[in-house]
Symmetry: C2
Subunit: 394 residues, 2 copies
């Protein structure tokens, strides 16, 4: 009994955490409930029911399947659904007429062959990357509606009336979803994408800002060998979340493509730019991943040498971090700022300083370079990457 | 006219390529067509039609929505669908009875509130990661069926009979999908996962085997400064595909969980092990990504120094490559092999050789170490990672 209780508590905590992580999830659930309840009014209110008949089922259906978390996803699904239903309905009726020409005996065969061909061909197109990204759901609904219409037409005589009823209920359900998702606490995929990219850059920035101090085991203020307190080491892990965001970014960009203008984003905002920035950010994160191995390296660097490279290295890391932070904040406010260039220049100067420091190093330290150099090179690669990001940021 | 023609040709080429990349896609399309045609037989054959009535629509419906590329995905979706329909149907009938107690006036309100609550709660649970990964589709169908049953019950008196008809057609559609996907040219998600992981390791291996030669600009056989021919440089890019496979691996592992035993895999094969190997492989790829920057470095390394480190570096890279290749082939055949350890030992020895070489380096070269060391360190990290992989491979 105690074990069941603790398990239930565990589950409850998990469920609560889902809501705390993103309170919009709770709003979303309520919105879905609202939409479904509204749509099922068509069943309860008699005059509406007699207008649509049992086809009102399709409205409920559409709402359940089409309502997604972000506006873009909902729009994409409802548009796909409505358009695909229209197209497939028309084709289905056409197939029906064609099959009729072959008489009662031939009809089922012709219809069977047509359904087979269209289903196979459409399923095949779902593998084409471009179609998969944007119209996957539409193709699915196309297959569905086409086979339903052409097949059920064989039985139901009043096919046109039925098609009309179904289409109007689906459109009604779709419109309901679109309206609720746009006007009741909207969740914009574009905004999410923007925040995700900015957040990723900020994560990298805070890693870089902290890295210098962590690597040389000094506190930010003193600089005389005092260990950094253990509490604030979360920044060392923050870059990890950047490594695997590719899929999320791509689907968000796809959804954002469907969204109308909102907030500071216009319709047809250059969403693909975000993907490019994302690729560069991830590249940066890969380098950081490599860099990270050296933080807890066991081999001790000779103090004399360490002192020599410490200043430029710390400057490189903190300045590039500041530059990235600056970049993130300019992206947030969508303004241009000159201090980004200042930080970049500073970090470049630090790279040069480091080179001079290395050139004047006395011999005998070479073996120890093993630990120092990677940090340096990665930091210089970082500066290169920051330059790229700068270009993309427009 | 010419432009339209060339565009059409382009499209045709793309579509052809989709099939060439993976011929199983063509088979899959044909399988879907077959399943839908078989299921629509219920409409054409009169005795069957009168048995099921217009509910046979649900069979078509189920097949279209549930049939997926791999066996695991199909199984997961059909099981989810059938179970969710059962549960939601039962709950829906219950809700119906409950609402009946409140008389004709109260009924719609009670039903509306119930639908709202259940829809909102179920939508919320879809955000819980574990449920999302494995039962997302089931919850969707649950909401759908529950609202359909409880709402339409208000109108249709013979609700139990209808529910029975629908459930049996859905089960029929689901069974059809499962049978066809398992017995007609099955595509196993588990096998795909296995191949993907093995392939990723092989990609890294071929990169490492080629890297030494590429970096020192020597051909494999001569070793006297001859440029490697340009043709076979694809191996330098091969590791790129490894970087972003996380999502694919995770969804494949999820699907594989549903699959019965097949080939050399048993039911409940330790699929999560593959995910762990995947994480390590990607870590390896991240390091390689960093390493890659130095291949086309502009700064010229002094020949004298280069000659000294060339032998151990090339050995490190080729031996670790060979070790990974060995690992991939042991995974393929699922046997144990001792030559893996031999290669690991060799590459470790090479690391030691390199260290000695560096220690005896004369001074004045330090500035140039900038290019050499990262390769070395990354290779030594690689050896560490390979050790991890070895552990996981059991």
């Amino acid at each position: 009994c105690g074990r069941i209780k603790s398990k239930a508590l565990d589950l409850a905590k998990k469920i609560k955490k889902v809501g705390q992580d993103d309170p919009r999830r709770i709003t979303h659930s309520l919105k879905v409930g609202l939409a479904i309840t509204l749509v099922s009014l068509f069943y309860y209110v008699r005059p509406l029911y007699y207008g649509f008949g049992s086809s009102s089922m399709w409205a409920v259906f559409t709402v359940v399947v089409v309502f997604e978390f972000s506006v873009g996803a909902t729009l994409s699904k409802s548009m796909n659904r409505v358009l695909a239903t229209l197209l497939a309905g028309a084709l289905g009726v056409g197939a029906q007429h064609l099959a009729n020409l072959f008489g009662d005996r031939g009809e089922p065969y012709i219809l069977g062959i047509l359904v087979f061909l269209l289903a196979a061909a459409s399923t095949y197109t779902r593998f084409v990357p471009h179609i998969k990204a944007r119209y996957d759901y539409g193709v699915l609904i196309f297959i569905l509606t086409f086979s339903l219409v052409s097949v059920s037409g064989y039985r139901v005589e009043k096919i046109l009336e039925l098609a009309h009823q179904r289409l109007s209920t689906i459109m009604l359900g779709g419109a309901m979803c679109m309206l609720i998702s746009i006007f009741v606490c909207p969740v914009w995929a574009g905004e999410d994408l923007h925040n995700l990219v900015v957040n990723n850059i900020e994560n990298l920035a805070s890693f870089l800002e902290g890295f210098g101090g962590e690597y040389f085991k000094v506190s930010e203020d003193g600089g005389d060998g005092v260990m950094v307190p253990k509490e604030d080491k979360s920044f060392l892990q923050s870059y990890k979340s950047v490594l695997n965001t590719k899929t999320t970014e791509e689907s968000l960009a796809n959804f954002a493509w469907w969204e109308p203008g909102h907030g500071s984003f216009q319709f047809r905002h250059p969403w693909t730019q975000y993907l490019k920035i994302g690729v560069l950010t991830r590249k940066c994160a890969f380098h950081i991943e490599t860099l990270c191995v050296y933080i807890n390296s066991e081999i001790q660097t000779p103090t004399e040498f360490q002192r020599r490279i410490q200043v430029p290295c710390m400057k490189m890391s903190s300045e590039s971090g500041k530059a990235l932070k600056e970049l993130a904040s300019t992206m947030k406010t969508m303004t241009h700022s000159s201090s980004f260039n200042v930080h970049i220049e500073n970090s470049k100067k630090a790279v040069d300083d480091l080179k001079t420091a290395l050139e004047t190093t006395s011999s005998g330290d070479e073996a120890y370079l093993l630990e120092i150099i990677p940090a340096v090179t990665a930091a210089s690669i970082l500066t290169d990457i920051i330059k790229c990001v700068e270009k993309v940021a427009e």
